[in-house]
Symmetry: C2
Subunit: 196 residues, 2 copies
């Protein structure tokens, strides 16, 4: 882009963000340097601070700045139910429904043998320890309804059921607000099988 | 996403990058914190350094760390030709062709009245000073062939021609490697009018 080494370094560093290629990185660098140096400084500080202060909750494994996250340390939550999600964003979606008052376990990933992500990488051993603490009676599997999410749910279910814990899965069915005509057939078949 | 203020600050800061919305920002923050803390630190440092060390070349206005950029201070360049481009990325594309040995003037933008970008914002006055230094004989307008790029070229041409400077524009025509059948009609009409 130019003969400036710190500009090249910035473009290379921006390319490490997911989904950012060389063209996007150039555009981002150009925008920040030309129109938003304040934003560049803000992002620089935010990255440094987050990278240094954020760790994993000892109980649920989500991102937190304390040893135990806010949800896990809330005495008002139902400690007998544990919801297993893939990411903090999934946990956040679940929280926003207001329909779940139990605790969480955040895998921070999902099984993906093709990418070399095995049960160890998503902390299944830690989840088993967490789920067998004597308080948890039901583990609700809320991983994605994709091939990898289903495989993750299956593996966790297989590991927990022999230990006497009730394992459930979010219901599959027709999404709220959709017309049957436009729903895919696999979903309709599941909704029919699980009718109530 | 979570109860962590430094994570929220990071997501908000990432949203200031062009083309990054809330979902992308969450995904970026999650990726950097979970899989690439080294990359996060690298980006933090690169942003800080670029933001503090990069300024504009006094002669051509491009990004540089010195007072005068490498191209402008190269004695081997043809000082009688000045190529006007919109961005450092455009300048870089022009350089990679190897077909131009003159100097550049980088507007760092283009006229866009709807966005409130006028002649003052793209440094037209500075360009006029630069082009009337006595050495420049020809100004080559290499702004984009979009409505805004054309308006920019027109405005600069109108400002320079009365000052006795030869003003030229990159040729419009059929791109190399294309089949006529698939080229848009406006381009073919221009190629026909400018046939040689």
């Amino acid at each position: 882009m130019s003969d400036t080494s710190s500009l090249d370094a910035l473009i290379q560093a921006l390319r490490r963000l997911p989904g950012v290629g060389i063209k996007s990185a150039q555009r981002m660098a150009f925008h920040m340097l030309q129109h938003d140096r304040e934003g560049a400084e803000m992002l620089s500080r935010a990255l440094h601070e987050a990278s240094n202060s954020i760790r994993h909750c000892e109980r649920c494994h989500t991102f937190t700045e304390a040893a135990i996250c806010e949800v896990c340390s809330d005495p008002g939550r139902d400690m007998s139910r544990l919801c297993v999600v893939e990411t903090p964003a999934d946990q956040s979606a679940m929280e926003r429904t207001g329909a779940f008052k139990g605790l969480y376990f955040v895998l921070m990933g999902r099984l993906s043998p093709l990418d070399g992500v095995g049960p160890r990488d998503i902390g299944v051993k830690k989840l088993i320890e967490r789920a067998t603490d004597g308080m948890v009676q039901e583990v609700i599997l809320a991983t994605s309804f994709t091939a990898e999410g289903e495989a993750t749910a299956y593996a966790i279910g297989e590991a927990l059921r022999p230990r006497g814990i009730q394992v459930t899965r979010l219901a599959r069915g027709v999404p709220v607000g959709s017309e049957l005509e436009f729903v895919d057939l696999g979903t309709i078949a599941h909704a029919l099988a699980d009718r109530r």
